[in-house]
Amino acid sequence: MGRQLRGVLTIITVVALATVFGGWWAVPVVSFAAGFATPRGVRQAALIGICAGSAWLSLLALQTVSGIAIGDVATKVGQLFSLPGPLFLLLVVLFAFGLGWSCAALGEELGARLRKSAPTPVQG
């Protein structure tokens, strides 16, 4: 398994678990942290956003295969917002993606600035 794939799976897992135990705030927090930890010069905020969306989609899929009527919820609650069920599901994924990407991008930027201003270690 490649390093990047491992990283992706790790972020998906962390976002999913953090959502289960901490709620939706897990997405901006974990994404920001992941962005912050990104090595300088690497741009992967979009990937982190995709991971966040995938994490939420995975949680819904997990419940669906467990026999939970997620499709029924999407259809009925979607109607309340004048959205077809699939679009309501898409809204969920886009919300997580948007939060994940934006917070990761902010984390990347802050991390890069902090690292840039930090003194360079000198080998003696």
Partner: protein
């Protein structure tokens, strides 16, 4: 790159804001969309697990709750208080949002969920519903059994709230972005206030005075009569069929100017009409409850039989929750309870069964008050002296806690006051009387343990409001009915259709009827008893004023006809009667309509539409079956007939006094059918003077055209009654996706399963046979769960719609419930890790 940073910052800020705070009417999206704790979790908690455990800290010992395959919890508790704690827990488990929203409706705090509800909140507080509930609670001594019972129930509700997992949170809370509120014992009084408002807030005073103001008091007295012209009373009067009393239909007369002033005072004091009250005389066809009992002498099995079907505005979840409570050697009762009330309201135990219909008596009066300062009164004039007013400040907030409105509501010793064009009007209502607070809980609770109909009557003696036609039967073969509730004794001639002088205590109520004076009957010679909201006593037997809000007599006539004709009644016959498609109203009107059309046709051809109507009505069996074509046409015709005959009571000009009038009801129209030349038949908008027959021809032609336009032709499937007038049960918040599908049902306006629209009908149907044991079948529309994603949300609808009932299980012990009927077991413990 700065642009990327700015974009990310803007997106993050926007999403974090809508995630945490929401946008416009949308709730906070983060909590809503969260795939684990958000709206989706409602589906995860939709079904009961096979086994579960809960904790109620105040429990005396463990309680076992077994849910059967109908979703009914059978609660086996060591004490009555533990049973109520467990009841609070299981009701909260299935109906938590219903508990809260019904309570808020009375407390006037719906605007804290949605600011758009502010007008409803102001109205609820102006009526003093929460004020009176709080006074009733405060009046309970600390050791009052009622206080202790309500606290036990509240402990159970709050224990559930305290242990909720995300999947236990009802979907409505996700949609509103709220968390459940804590349940207080006083909330039970709130819920009872809501039922009192629905069933005992009689508005005929306004209708009577408004009609008198425009057409004189004779017309008002005819339109709002003290006595129904067709007498089929609840207390048997010894007659073999309904009696028609002669009436004179008064011609329109000059308006009564004093009534006009009083009408405007009363109208403003009462405020907007509430759905579910018997106030719309022209729209009364869908409301009404039935109950009847058959003595062993007229039942096929030689056992007493009892049937009941209270009708209310239907909702999902239902106002009722079905339950069985067992406390060894103390309590063994099953039936339905209001979500939020300890004990069973309508039901049965091992010895007796009971059910109710609304009496509809006049238990509210209005008083014109004199105050010290009209703009901001602090005192009112009474018996020659100033008396201090009780001032209540009502503050309304939105979900953020921002104050939306502050109202100051003064109260006299009679009740809340409202200012109307510079005048202040107070009202007194039995629902506000503190002395009936404890009784409203205590009496229902006491009925759960009665052994026979005599004990049932004794248990209900203190009961106050809303007055109910209380029917009971026992295993010894006794049947009994009594219209129980406090009926005010008024000064003067006792008539309540007035605005009284508030400056003197001589206007006040003098007391209440004694229980021996209530309409009642036990084991009558006729061998059965029946009530359908009709006038309870024959005015020849009891001429005193009780009210005018009696339902039209059609249902009472129908059930009496069915029971008189059947000397060997079976439980299944009782079940069929509950959805009997026959209509005494149609039996009254159709022959008269046909006779009028025949008369006109004899003189010349009818207009095409009228002729087609005549043919279809002639072939109609006058039954509201699903495939009936005649029923659909008849209802079109009756709607048009009401609008045309009562054009004198309808005005599109909102400034016209006529705009405030209530359209006379079906009983007045029934009388008018036999007065072919009455002035009321004349259509005011035409220069000619029309007679009954001319109006009927016009209406019959218009009905055909209207039905054709709406439903195609009579061969179109849409024309069939079940398609043209289907039934639908709406969600409590009227959220369309959570409503039931539309279903075709047998029955129609003024039949034994009356309805006049999509959403009202029999809220509970029960048939009991009482012999060596008590065997009961029952149903209500919807299901036990308030969760729209649960299989128990709508599982009873089709059975209910088809007029079927389900046998009710009543195991004596947890092991007595057949294993294949157990769906879930809940063990409630006193403290975590073990009971105490």
């Amino acid at each position: 790159m700065p642009s990327r940073l700015i974009a990310a910052a803007l997106v993050a800020a926007a999403l974090l804001f809508v995630g945490a705070k929401g946008a416009g009417p949308a709730p906070p999206l983060g909590g809503l969309l969260d795939p684990w704790r958000g709206v989706w979790s409602a589906a995860r908690g939709a079904e009961l697990p096979p086994a579960s455990r809960g904790y109620v800290p105040s429990l005396g010992a463990d309680v076992t709750v077994q849910y059967d395959d109908r979703g009914v919890p059978h609660i086996f508790a060591p004490s009555v208080l533990d049973a109520y704690r467990a009841l609070g827990y299981v009701v909260a488990r299935d109906r938590l949002f219903e508990l809260e929203v019904q309570t808020r409706a009375v407390a006037g705090t719906l605007s804290e969920l949605n600011a758009a509800a502010l007008p409803l909140d102001r109205e609820a507080r102006r009526l003093g519903l929460a004020w009176s509930a709080e006074r009733k609670w405060a009046a309970l001594p600390a050791d009052s059994p009622v206080r202790v019972a309500l606290q036990a129930y509240a402990d159970g509700v709050n224990a559930f709230i305290g242990q909720m997992r995300p999947s236990d949170v009802p979907v409505e809370y996700h949609l509103l972005g709220r968390r459940p509120m804590r349940w207080e014992p006083v909330h039970t009084f709130y819920l009872l206030s809501r039922m009192q408002q629905t069933l005992a807030w009689d508005n005929d005073d306004v209708g009577f005075l408004s009609t008198a103001a425009v057409y004189g008091r004779d017309v008002a007295a005819w339109a709002f009569p003290r006595a129904t012209f067709l007498q089929e009373p609840i207390q048997p009067n010894g007659q073999r069929e309904a009696r028609r009393d002669p009436t004179v239909i008064p011609e329109p007369g000059p308006g009564d100017t004093s009534a006009a002033r009083l009408a405007s005072l009363a109208a403003a004091a009462i405020g907007p009409r509430f759905p579910g009250t018997l106030t719309e005389r022209g729209d009364e066809s869908g409301l009404g409850s039935n109950n009847w009992a058959v003595a062993p002498s007229r039942s096929a099995s030689g056992k007493a039989l009892l049937a009941g079907d209270p009708h209310l505005d239907l909702s999902l979840p239902s106002v009722w929750y079905e339950v069985h409570l067992v406390v060894p050697d103390t309590l063994d009762v099953a039936g339905v309870t209001f979500a939020g009330t300890p004990g069973v309201i309508i039901g049965f135990n091992r010895d007796a069964a009971w059910t109710y219909t609304n009496t509809g008596a006049d238990v509210v009066d209005f008083y014109a008050e004199s105050v010290d300062v009209a703009a901001a009164p602090t005192k009112y004039w009474l018996d020659g002296a100033w008396k201090p007013l009780e001032i209540r400040i009502e503050t309304f907030r939105d979900k953020q806690g921002t104050v939306l409105q502050v109202d100051t509501i003064p109260h006299t010793h009679r009740g809340p006051m409202t200012r109307v064009r510079g005048r202040w009007v107070s009202f007194r209502w039995t629902a506000h009387e503190t002395e009936f607070g404890a009784a409203s809980v205590q009496t229902f609770e006491a009925t759960n343990r009665v052994k026979n109909v005599d004990e049932y009557w004794a248990a209900m003696n203190p009961y106050g409001v809303p007055a109910q036609n209380m029917l009971s039967a026992d295993r010894s073969g006794n049947i009994a009915i009594r219209s129980t509730g406090k009926y005010p004794i008024r000064p003067g001639n006792g008539d309540g259709r007035l605005i009284f002088d508030g400056t003197t205590t001589k206007s006040d109520w003098l007391g209440y009827w004694s229980t021996s004076e209530y309409p009642q009957s036990k084991n009558p010679a006729q061998g059965y008893l029946a009530s359908a909201n009709q006038q309870p006593m024959d005015p020849k037997v009891e001429p005193r004023y009780m009210g005018t809000g009696w339902a039209p007599p059609w249902r009472a006539m129908r059930i009496n006809r069915l029971l008189r004709a059947d000397s060997a009644v079976t439980p299944d016959a009782m079940r069929k009667y509950q959805t009997d498609p026959g209509s005494e109203r149609a039996e009254w009107f159709v022959p008269r309509i046909l006779a009028a059309l025949d008369t006109v046709a004899a003189a010349g051809p009818l207009p095409a539409g009228a002729e087609k109507s005549r043919r279809l009505l002639r072939s109609w069996d006058r039954r509201y079956t699903i495939d009936s074509k005649g029923a659909t046409l008849f209802e079109q015709l009756m709607a048009g007939l009401g609008r045309t005959a009562w054009d004198e009571f309808i005005s599109s000009d909102t400034t016209s006094p006529k705009a405030a009038l209530e359209v006379p009801g079906q009983t007045q129209l029934a009388q008018l059918m036999d007065a072919p030349t009455s002035t009321w038949w004349d259509i005011g908008s035409t220069p000619a003077r029309e007679s009954r027959n001319e109006v009927l021809v016009q209406v019959a032609a218009a009905a055909w055209d209207s039905a054709t336009k709406k439903f195609g032709g009579p061969d179109d499937p849409r024309w069939a009654w079940g398609s043209a007038y289907p039934q639908q049960v709406p969600h409590l918040l009227r959220l369309a996706p959570f409503a039931s599908p539309k279903v075709a049902v047998t029955s129609g306006p003024h039949t034994l399963a009356p309805r006049n629209g999509l959403s009202n009908g029999a809220s509970w149907r029960m048939v009991a046979e009482l012999g060596d044991s008590v065997a009961v079948q029952a149903i209500y529309p919807g299901g036990q769960s308030g969760n729209p994603f649960s299989s128990r949300y709508l599982d009873r609808l089709q059975t209910w719609a088809s007029g079927q009932l389900q046998p009710v299980l009543m195991p004596r012990t947890p092991t007595a419930l057949p294993a294949d009927r157990i769906r879930s077991t809940l063990t409630l413990k006193g403290i975590a890790g073990g009971s105490r």
